[in-house]
Symmetry: C2
Subunit: 412 residues, 2 copies
Amino acid sequence: KMQNTPGISATLFRALGRNGINVIAIAQGSLELNISVVIKNESLKRALNVIHDEFFLSTYKELNIFIAGIGLVGSSLLKQLQNQSKVLFDEHNLKVNLMGITNSRRMLVRSKAIPLDQCKEILKNEGEKADISSFAQKVRKMNLRNSVFIDCTADATVASVYGSFLSGYVSVVAANKIACSSDYEYYLSLKNMASERGVRFMYETTVGAGLPIIKTISDLILSGDRIYKIEAVLSGTLNFIFNELSAELPLSKAIRKAREKGYSEPDPRIDLSGTDVVRKILILAREAGYRIEQKDVEVKKFLPDRCFEGDLNEFYKHVEELDAEFESKRLEMVKQKKKWRFFATLDRGKASVGLVDVDQDHPSYNLEGSNNIVLLTTERYKELPMVIKGYGAGAEVTAAGVFADLMRVVNV
Amino acid sequence: KMQNTPGISATLFRALGRNGINVIAIAQGSLELNISVVIKNESLKRALNVIHDEFFLSTYKELNIFIAGIGLVGSSLLKQLQNQSKVLFDEHNLKVNLMGITNSRRMLVRSKAIPLDQCKEILKNEGEKADISSFAQKVRKMNLRNSVFIDCTADATVASVYGSFLSGYVSVVAANKIACSSDYEYYLSLKNMASERGVRFMYETTVGAGLPIIKTISDLILSGDRIYKIEAVLSGTLNFIFNELSAELPLSKAIRKAREKGYSEPDPRIDLSGTDVVRKILILAREAGYRIEQKDVEVKKFLPDRCFEGDLNEFYKHVEELDAEFESKRLEMVKQKKKWRFFATLDRGKASVGLVDVDQDHPSYNLEGSNNIVLLTTERYKELPMVIKGYGAGAEVTAAGVFADLMRVVNV
């Protein structure tokens, strides 16, 4: 009954318009008992579904997700979504539909939600050959409301198609650092496109995994604060290595241990060179409002160049030659009650990464294991910085950070 | 031109419906050149405004705010909003309108936005006698989209009318601790009402001012994490006092100093009794999913009962009698390299507050000045807790936290 109930026609026409169904003619009698619309025949079935959903089903919001990468982080995320689906529906009126999935080999986009617990088998059985561009085209074509593309890969090709999602009104949640730490122009164009289209581009987990770092900086900036300084330990791998150093465990062995524990990349030089940390401080610097490129970040390497040439065997040989030197430096530090920390620093727009020795009073002195820490000195947090500390890596905490980003897309 | 442009009628009817204008009859010709609607005469003017706004102005979102309390925090917030208005509009397509304002004496609700820089004079000149219930009624009646009531008071009466805002589709952002730390039933009813109405009830700044504590706990819980333990120093006043203690500055003098610096309440016993900390740990415990009342929080007072009886002079006399005892305890602690911290603890659902001595390795050992610190031990942050540290009070940082809550209401 429409009589005296404002909003019925709004609901009807909003649902039709949102789904791309053009209304040719309308008639509503003054008794407000019925309303008629004329549409094209080809839109008929869709219109009936849309109207049915809108009036009889939609007491809840739907979030349609498309996920790339189902390794450790992606799998954890799917599991968290599955475990929380009842809570999300019961307490937040939110239904999350997995509508598409791809890894480096296969891809699948379906018009019906893919069961979370069987998605890997379904992808294997029903998926076609993976191609991220055509994946993006399929997602755009579906034109579903509240669509989000989630990038749980570390792949540059995947990062290169974000624009294609965003311009098609699909939000992007990235755990992948590449897009945000590549050319500033690309990063900016993605931000602008998201803003123009009214969708979200989020990447909290690219720095510090699930720690609330990027949203904190972004909130501060938005309210008019200014970030003067960021000091951060952002490499769990490097922090682990420097925490492990001892008379019994020289540098070369500590590196091997990090490798064995799965903390470092297969080639640990990717961590030791600081490249990963450069990307992270770049992301934070940009979030803090600085227009900065990767080449602007000063890198103070703590290993000589020869370590980064040749193969892994040569690398370990070179490091072994340095073990004694590092050990004597370490003993000197112990005497001075200092510790090594691999710091990323942003100081009034100037970014650098390198090994720093900190004394007992520094908040990073007791930074355990592979933890991360971020110190923010701002106009408002001036004499004493804001400090955020905790696990900076790990599938579960990273997935939880992606989960939180997803919830912000639908404002839950 | 409506032809082949899906969504025109949706926009029209959504705008009318949202503004409570009932459509009696509709006619749209099949050429799609015009559309006619029949409405009641009394709605005519409003309908014209609504349609004009919707089609010719609304390239941006509007956030309509109503603020109670224009003391330090409220004034800082208004200033931040004023300073950021250009950024919000240019970069986020957001226009923030101050539509109502009240303090304990006067109130004003206007149909036209109140200039932020003149609002205090305007309130003084044009305001009527303050009454928070009738303020709430006026706000509800205005029935504006994206309306938010902001409570920057510490007033129980103000906290008692949140339900009236929320049930009228007005979001509530509170810096006031009272509603969230009163009866669980009231707190729960507010949460549920916000959820049912699709509006927001936010209160990040009730604990740790601008530090991202509540949203972090809430994000963790939502993704399925479980909070096992919260250890926190949540009273800047008490932390300041215990940091100041020295041979020259005994307890009674440290308390006086906190009072003089404006860190404590006029009657410092409000801080010393731990009541404020009880409220804060209650809020965190509830956010962590525990159904808990104020009486369930165990309070271990560090001053004898006689200090909390009688007037302020008697209080200081009693504390002076305790100075020597505290000083000898303090010397003992120095010898053991320990420090006093006033902790709030939640351990698997059991909450308590009291003085604890921590050793050098504890993250709160170096907690400077009046800072706050929160340690979260969860299913995922298990062996090493997540740590968040920084100013836990202050007008600027609190206002920035309220600002961030506001942005989440409109999902910026």
